[in-house]
Symmetry: C2
């Protein structure tokens, strides 16, 4: 007689989920895209560490796919959230913290004169596009080919269940390619409402690519010339690159920007910021959600943004990301692997040369996972303020072992 | 010398908000639609009571426009949320509570074989429509004229910033009008993907209208004949009419249903439920959000749904709503007003006869507000389990005074 299988094990939970959830899970957190051995379910989290349903502990480099920027259970964020929770969360209107957060955020973000809060990154990108259309009376939107801007029918990476009309006014350009941008704009005649662009190229499965200053300036010049909105999609980058806006170092400011993920350290919040020119347009559209005035997530965001400033969290994440990147580069070279670490150090993408279907990268990540480090073989990763030097060094001990075993398997 | 105005008063907060938020606030919670004297900002909430930024206390009949179904700070819900919060909320994947909630919800909802969770009601209605299109390979969607199904470009009550293509495949019928339904369906030829319909008519500013059994059956028969999806929009009604589904008493089951608002007692959560026929379609589409696997809202939902069952919360809300309605009817008649209370007692709409622009209704609500009761003159209201008989009776004391003053002003 064998013991009954644990109904709360990752394997059992997957079986149970497959019965009551189509495909076992929706969207980007579905583990089918990950190498074998990756868990689907997580029982707890603390700082930069996660424990899966089977109790395995990992140093985490996905940060919940971005939201966790200070680490899980950050004491300042959770104290602020709890204080607001004791007062009220969803009420018949906002709490005063809405005003405090909006004041703080518009002061922090260089281009911002106003803000609107929502729940999903997709809410924020959609509000930006609707505002651009309202403010111009035009329809066409330029987006980079392959860029992810959300999961609504107009922008989803999949066209299943989507109609042609949902994307009728989208035109594509190639990231960092000024000529393709201008060609796409030329096709809009007088109907260009906006250009929606990520601060850097962070497409799935390919090297990340920072914008050339010339490209960013060309987007700005094009929008100025056309009277169209430059919409920066900060959903993935916001609060990790530059609190004032990810293109500040390039001297290029957007008209509208979409934010979510990290701004409230894991609490569900999204935001749109805009400049004065677009205020009336933003006031003229109807957008809302049952929980968009929820006060707890706003209190969390205010504490999160303040702490990121107070501890210079971005410099810390950058330094920790660089420490990881340098270590990985040394180890890879020592073991005879050619790897590429692309993007800002605090949002690293790790790819192997000559690695069709990321087979080698997946094998490497599986070996790291077995040793207690959660990496992603095809998506950019994320550092948090909770990653300290000893966590990076412990990670590098693990990756040293993973490279060594990978090299041994090759011989 | 006068004292400096309190920067946290409702008036000061509105001024501050006007500077950093377009129009002072977005969406349905913007107080501009309410009579003069209504607050915009709320400092705290408890049970069925709210305190505005100026410290005024109200017995509340909006329940945060629906989400608060057990009352603010329900101890069971908050204990479950806190227990999950101590473990983890947004992680690299869901927590086990996702499976427990999905199992519970699909067992509870009569038509449901599976579920998907999201954050906004609009997410849920959009997922239903996308699933219907994926599962049929068709495009057309029938919706009732004037019905609210969310605030995305395809369904927003405003067309500012929206393109004609966003609504290219929508056709309209009149609620409870079988002939207009069939006429709209006939215009779709073989391209009908689904019919999206609310369990009852709850349009802004007009009497609520329950569906005739014949109408509900006709929607079902039409969808069966056409192979299209019957999509029930339970966002506003869910967890207040019938936990198994709001058309259970009519014997009519949907293929897909959209849920949000009350299912997690104020925590941000939405859900889609579907029957077996639509499972593969739901698995084939790509929908996601950064916080859709957030575990705290799921733990809250599980506790909320369990408590609603355990205490028969719906029967209680219905009884309290009836007590309110009966009292209002007696008082109105005694003071010579003709009023109409429409819809289910637990989601009452109160309108005055011969009341252009709801001037009389607004005056009545203002008088009630001054006396400590928060009503809405043009939108359906909501009861919660936290409304006890003494709260209703205290409310009726207030409305007696409001009717009396309204009558005095008339003479």
């Amino acid at each position: 007689m064998t013991a009954a299988p644990d109904p709360m094990s990752d394997a059992a939970l997957r079986e149970r989920a497959a019965r009551v959830i189509p495909g076992g899970l929706w969207g980007h957190m579905r583990s089918q895209g990950l190498p074998a051995g990756y868990p689907q379910f997580f029982q707890r989290a603390e700082g930069c560490r996660l424990w899966d349903a089977d109790g395995r502990e990992f140093i985490d480099f996905m940060c919940s796919w971005g939201p966790i920027v200070l680490g899980h259970h950050d004491p300042e964020v959770e104290a602020a959230a709890e204080a607001q929770r004791r007062l009220g969360d969803a009420m018949n209107g906002p709490a005063p913290v809405l005003v405090e957060l909006a004041e703080h955020f518009t002061a922090l973000v260089a281009h911002a004169d106003w803000t609107i809060f929502a729940k999903n990154g997709t809410d924020a990108t959609t509000i930006c596009v609707t505002t651009a259309r309202a403010g111009t009376g035009r329809r066409k939107l330029l987006v980079a080919k392959g860029a992810y801007h959300g999961a609504a029918p107009w922008c989803s990476p999949s066209v299943v269940g989507v109609t042609a009309e949902d994307r009728a006014h989208l035109l594509h350009f190639r990231y960092n390619n000024i000529r393709s941008l201008e060609q796409a704009a030329a096709m809009c005649a007088g109907d260009l409402a906006g250009v929606l662009v990520s601060p850097f190229r962070h497409d799935y499965g390919v090297d990340q690519e920072l914008p050339t200053p010339e490209f960013a300036q060309a987007v700005r010049a094009l929008c100025d010339r056309a009277g169209a909105a430059l919409i920066l999609d900060e959903v993935r980058t916001g609060a990790r690159i530059d609190l004032a806006g990810s293109w500040e170092d390039l001297g290029v400011r957007p008209d509208l920007a979409a934010w979510s993920k990290a701004i409230a350290n894991g609490h569900a919040l999204a935001a749109v910021t805009g400049s004065e020119r677009w205020r009336d347009a933003a006031a003229s559209i109807f957008v809302t959600g049952s929980f968009w005035c929820g006060a707890v997530a706003m209190a969390a965001a205010l504490a999160c943004l303040r702490k990121l400033q107070a501890v210079d969290g971005i410099a810390h994440m950058r330094a920790m990301g660089q420490r990881l990147r340098d270590g990985l580069a040394r180890q890879a070279a020592a073991h005879g692997f050619r790897i590429r670490c692309s993007g800002p150090p605090q949002m690293p993408m790790l790819l192997f040369d000559d690695d069709a279907d990321a087979a080698l990268g997946s094998a490497f990540c599986s070996l790291a996972l077995q040793r207690g480090v959660y990496l992603h073989p095809k998506h950019n990763m994320f550092l948090s303020v909770a990653h300290r030097a000893q966590d990076i060094d412990r990670t590098l001990d693990v990756t040293e072992g993973a490279f060594a075993e990978l090299a041994a398997g090759r011989r």
